[in-house]
């Protein structure tokens, strides 16, 4: 990777769990993101996948400091983002924008599309020249395939696909370099999903954007990503380019995940071997010792309970994997065994999936 735009090093985001009676007492932490390191090259799409609750959204928000990381470094284009303060951070934020699953659900329904888009410009004092603003609004809407008449309308007047276009326009209007898209097409029907996926591709090409795309749908992620990172319980377990990851998944979790995705082709479905995982994602409050996947891993060994495997480079291809036994599993030397289902309590500390609602997001900054 020659030109790195984003470098994340050992990033951790831990949420304190307060005791219900004594409000100021922290009784435990949700280890939502617990030591993630990755690099995103300029102009590429990095896709982050994993089951709900594994920390994808928190990582994305941590990168923008919409939630404050507990530990680690974030370097964007040579700037140490965590060292930026107040005004500097505010100005810097223009360069990274976020696209959400349903951008409109959190918005004031009385706010027109125009005022919504201008809001971002105002925050960066880019709204004074009326003619320039007009021009900018039109060209941005045009780039996402919406007519200028959209400006005078309100969120509820649009379908899901059009709303997502408006959400993308809102992210684009400030001219960012990096876009963090959190489940940008998950709420959309297949035919609309294709429209938005294509739009993201076109914009990347014409504007030279870099994307971090967060999604639970592996097929979508494979379609759009140059590099894919697989997360499990707060950590990256594997990373490779999409084609390699599909052809040679090394981590047991990646193998199970890939084998679980339904493929719209009856002949393929009839022939496929599935690795069915036992049980549910454990709670990120008390993750298993050693390898976090060991409670569901069909290849786990005694050592897995003791040492936490590091994400390491597997071979010359640059594929990275966090498993002690990746070589032996790959060669077939180590065989699968039965896994006993462990019950996971949803109420334990925090539900694995709180949805975006619970994540404290700072709205004071665009």
């Amino acid at each position: 990777m020659s030109d790195v735009l984003v470098e994340i090093d050992d990033l951790k985001v831990h949420f304190p769990i307060k005791s219900g009676l004594l409000f100021d007492r922290t009784i435990a932490h949700v280890l939502a993101v617990d030591g993630v390191s990755l690099k995103i090259a300029r102009g590429e799409t990095y896709g982050l996948v994993g089951e709900s609750g594994c920390g994808k959204s928190t990582l994305g928000r941590g990168l923008l400091r919409l939630v404050e990381p507990t530990h680690g470094r974030i370097i964007v284009d040579g700037t140490d983002v965590r060292a930026l303060q107040g005004e500097q951070m505010r100005l810097f934020r223009r360069r990274i924008q976020m696209v959400f699953q349903d951008p409109m659900s959190s918005l004031d329904p009385r706010q027109s599309v125009e005022s919504l888009l201008v809001e971002g410009l105002k925050a960066h004092d880019m709204h004074r020249d009326k003619a320039a603003v007009r021009q900018r609004l039109r060209s941005t809407l045009d780039s996402v395939g919406l007519p200028a008449s959209t400006l005078n309308k309100y969120p509820h007047e649009f379908s899901g696909g059009q709303r997502q276009r408006i959400g993308i326009a809102r992210a684009l209007i400030l001219g960012p370099e990096l876009i963090v898209a959190d489940e940008p097409v998950s709420a959309l029907d297949v035919s609309i999903q294709a429209q938005v996926v294509n739009l993201l591709g076109d914009l990347q090409e014409s504007l030279g954007l870099t994307y971090l795309v967060i999604a639970h749908d592996l097929a979508v992620v494979r379609h759009i990503s140059d590099t894919i990172g697989v997360m499990y319980l707060g950590a990256l377990v594997e990373e490779a380019d999409g084609d390699r990851l599909y052809q040679r998944p090394l981590h047991p979790y990646t193998r199970a995940l890939l084998s679980a995705v339904p493929i719209p082709d009856p002949w393929t479905e009839d022939r496929r071997e599935r690795i069915l995982l036992a049980g549910d994602l454990p709670s990120p409050v008390n993750p298993p010792s050693g390898c976090r996947f060991r409670t569901r891993c069909p290849w786990s060994q005694p050592r897995c309970a003791e040492d936490r495997p590091e994400l390491r480079v597997f071979d010359d291809s640059g594929q990275r994997v966090a498993c002690h036994f990746a070589e032996q599993i790959h060669s077939g030397e180590l065989r699968m065994h039965e896994v006993h289902t462990e019950l996971v309590r949803p109420a334990q500390g925090s539900a694995p999936d709180v949805g975006s609602g619970l994540i404290q997001t700072r709205n004071d900054l665009p």
Binding site: A194, R222, S225, D243, S259, P262, I263, P264, P346
Partner: protein, 327 residues
């Protein structure tokens, strides 16, 4: 004879101050004993309303249901509410997307399963509870004896869906209707639940109506697939035929627009222009016409009929995608 024979089923919603809305418009399909039949389509095309109408679970007011829902010899639409309720637990089971809303939050799981057995099989409480433990075990819930005393909120989404399946299958129904049973679940949990459903259906010979928006789920599971658009069946075919050779432009477009895991990183996806919601109320004639690349004069104005196809299916289109000729 078919186990379930749905004929010309329509559901019209009437609200004061609003135009009547036809959510389901002359839907017909059959389910043979032991068969798995899919209903697929994007959101809003009438899948859930169809299944609720079949089960007699639509709200009493505000809608009008017409047509026939023959289960063996009985038209379910003509049954008295009480008789219908009886049939539901005994002959037809149902599972929904959100198990939490279908389970009673304040009754222990074991009792919820046992009640079904008591009501429909006249079992004693004790015998029913014993069997309930066996059922939870059969659907893969760990340590079932203990789980009997627990409440739905103590289980994860996947485990709750298993519990719901146990309840639906408690009386060994001959038909199971599943409305997006895995849509709210993660993909590895979805795989568990689909494998469980497949196994149970294979073992017990229960027929299954699988309702989903996910073409991948259909590809792995269904014998016959009905594609719905705007409240109508637009294409029906065996699963291999449908995927090899989709004839309806909507089916064809959908299959081309899904990104596939087994295809290398690609350029652009095929797009279907517009959206379902842009075209409500549905236009006269073919409802897909405003989005269709193959639209011709005959498509607009008059209703396009559903015609049988040579391959034992059906197609509602005046200008279908040409059949692929084997080389």
């Amino acid at each position: 004879m078919a186990l379930l024979d749905v004929r010309d089923l329509s559901v019209v919603f009437r609200r004061r101050g609003a135009e009547p809305f036809t959510a389901v418009d002359g839907v017909g399909f059959t389910v043979e004993p032991g068969q798995t039949v899919g209903l697929v389509g994007e959101s809003g095309c009438g899948k859930s309303v169809t299944s609720l109408a079949i089960m007699g679970l639509l709200p009493r007011r505000g809608n009008q249901v017409t047509g026939e829902v023959r289960f063996e010899d009985t038209d379910l639409l003509k049954l008295r509410p009480q008789d219908l309720r009886d049939r539901r637990g005994r002959d037809i089971g149902m599972i929904f997307q959100d198990p939490l809303s279908s389970l009673n939050p304040v009754i222990p799981l074991g009792l919820q399963v046992a009640e079904v057995l008591e009501r429909h099989q006249g079992k004693t409480r004790q015998a029913a509870l014993r069997q309930a433990g066996g059922l939870l075990d059969a659907v893969g819930i760990p340590d079932p004896a203990r789980r009997l005393k627990e409440f739905p909120h103590q289980l994860s989404g996947g485990m709750r869906q298993r519990a719901l399946i146990a309840i639906a299958l408690a009386c060994k129904p001959r038909l199971l209707i599943a409305d997006e049973p895995t849509t709210a679940l993660d993909v590895t949990i979805q795989a568990q639940i689909l494998a469980l459903l497949k196994e149970l259906v294979d073992q017990s010979g229960t027929a299954l109506v699988m309702i989903t928006h996910d073409l991948g789920v259909v590809a792995g599971l269904c014998d016959t697939v009905n594609v719905l658009y705007a409240g109508k069946v637009v294409e029906r075919a065996g699963r291999h035929d449908l995927f090899a050779d989709p004839r309806h432009p909507y089916t064809h477009g959908l299959l081309q627009s899904v990104p596939r895991l087994d295809v290398d990183r690609g350029g652009r996806l095929h797009q279907i222009r517009g959206s379902v919601s842009d075209n409500i109320p549905w236009p006269e004639g073919c409802a897909f016409a405003p989005r269709c690349d193959r639209v011709i004069d005959d498509c607009v104005g008059a209703t396009v009929p559903l015609e049988p196809t040579r391959r034992d299916g059906a197609l509602r289109c005046t200008n279908p995608v040409p059949q692929e000729v084997p080389a």
